[in-house]
Amino acid sequence: MSENIYAWLLRLYPSRFREEYGEEVLQLFRDRARDEKGFLPRLRLWWDLLADLAISVPREYYHFQPEFLGVSTQRLEGTPAFFVIEGGSPRPGALFSGGMLTLASVIALSVFVSQPVHRRPLKISTTQSRSFASDRPSAFRRQPARATDSARETTRAPGQPAVTGVESKPSEAKVGQPPNAALPQSFRPPHAQASHPQSGQLQASQSLEAANTANTMTRGRSEDATIDEAERHRVIQGAIANLKQHYVYPEVAQKIADALVAHEKSGDYNAVKDGGAFADLLTKAMRDASQDMHLDVVYSQDPLPEHPQGSTPESLARYREAIERNNCAFEKAEILPHNIGYLKLNSFPDLSVCEATARAEMYRLNDAAAIIFDLRENRGGDPDMVMQLAAYLFDRPEYMYNPRENTTQQSWTRSPVPGNKLADKPVYILTSGLTFSAAEHFCYDLKMLKRATLVGETTSGAAHSGVFHRIDEHFGMGIPEVKPINPFSKNDWAVVGVEPDVKVNAADALDAAIRLAQTKLQKK
């Protein structure tokens, strides 16, 4: 019995010691147990043994010399080898510290993994809009969530302000706005509505890519369900029907229809199984036949609702609250050295919600000698806000081309703005590859009017001028239904983006613009 206890206690020694002397130690114990009988000697024996353990166990570990056991130390030069340093099972202490270390690593990893999730929408929407510019550049991307907003316009009473598409911006993610929140943004004049009852739709969808949560889009792209021949035929026929019914140029619609049918007959689409790829091919064929970059076919992984519901007063209130909390996307309005006004605007928010804010921010810059609009992170928005801000830059009404609307009285800026002193001041606009949609509208017109100098990078190329039409559950298309007059050039910024006057990296654009402004001001 007592020998068993002592044998168990011997496990405290390093395995190397146990293997070498374990039997001797036990033998010695037996010798002493045999020789030292009686209560007191036995008590003394155990006292000795325990004291011995307390002293010699730590010393064994302290003096432990790693040696290679159990394997031959012969090995080839330069080859990796595995040595067993100690044969026994790990000590309890080692197991404990190993366990704690593992636990700490798991906790640290889970914290680390959970972090980027919060930043993700911002990042992906950034890359996405970049890929959008090069990849699927035209008017819109259809998302069911968006369709809900888009439908409002068709259902609202004439004369009521229409809340249409949403163009969100990366900064919205920063201020914690829920990416999926319905964020109607652009109010459109009622008359445009009357003549084109659906013209708001596309603007709703126009901003799909921007307002969309990035993950939905990513999912849509990566998990495209395969499509069969019947589906392809149905989509082509649906597209042709929509074109003939809605496209503003009926003769071109016929030309596109012929092209699509010819492609289908010659088997060009037979191998295409991926919905997104098929949509891209149709887009290309339509643009090739029409030379109209505003035509677009889109694919949505999520089913498109047949009868989109209008957005609710609640969603409008949510939008209003979110955009007001964000100071209407006016991130910064300040006077830089040399009296250069600097305005960082990350969206063109709803005029009806943000008119007062816009006026206040512009007033802060009213005495500036030059003004820099920083639209490098501007993800678009309400064309009326574009017109509102542009009005400050002219002393008389000026025509602004908008690919989304017929030319009307609203196509002229409401200049002069009372009390405004900026109408004759030099204007610089900072652009990047992210500058998007309504922001490109602002850039394009002010560049064409030679009212502003664009500094930075070529913009995204999102014109968003088509009206969205559902083809079936997963396919939709954008069709221009208006004939705006573009007095500046044959093509606008659809697909190609707006070229800057001074090409520099977006990161260097502010410095470059400040230098340009200073030079200009010194000459005066």
Binding site: Y13, F17, E20, Y21, E24, V25, Q27, L28, F29, D31, R32, D48, L49, A51, D52, L53, I55, S56, V57, R59, E60, H63, Q65
Partner: protein, 116 residues
């Protein structure tokens, strides 16, 4: 490393070396011999004993001379240990060092009584 462990020579190691001066002994024999030569003041526990034996073996101050049976203790085979020449030399030098110390202690009249 073993040399460092033995410099200065721990009293346990010195007692073991001293115990082996007269004859080869197994572990339990060493233990009893040490107890005798210290008049029972030093009772080496098994861990301490074999740990020291291991150190002394590594330092080649003692060596294993094979296994044998101690008739007085039954039929179990035991490992016997013997002092090497180096071990014997070390015992002597250590004893001389202690003798020197003792001489100094005497000169300083640190020690009392006639038995020293």
């Amino acid at each position: 490393m073993p040399k460092q462990k033995l410099n200065p020579l721990p009293s346990t190691a010195f007692q073991i070396l001293l115990a082996l001066v007269d004859e080869d002994l197994h572990g339990y024999g060493i233990m009893r011999q040490v107890a005798n030569q210290t008049e029972g003041r030093m009772r080496l526990g098994p861990g301490t004993l074999y740990s020291s034996i291991q150190t002394l073996l590594e330092a080649r101050l003692i060596e294993e001379v094979g296994q044998g049976v101690d008739g007085k203790l039954g039929q179990e085979r035991r490992r016997y240990y013997r002092l090497t020449a180096a071990g014997r030399k070390l015992v002597r030098s250590e004893a001389e060092r202690l003798a020197d110390l003792l001489r100094v202690a005497r000169a300083k009249k640190v020690l009392r009584g006639a038995h020293v």
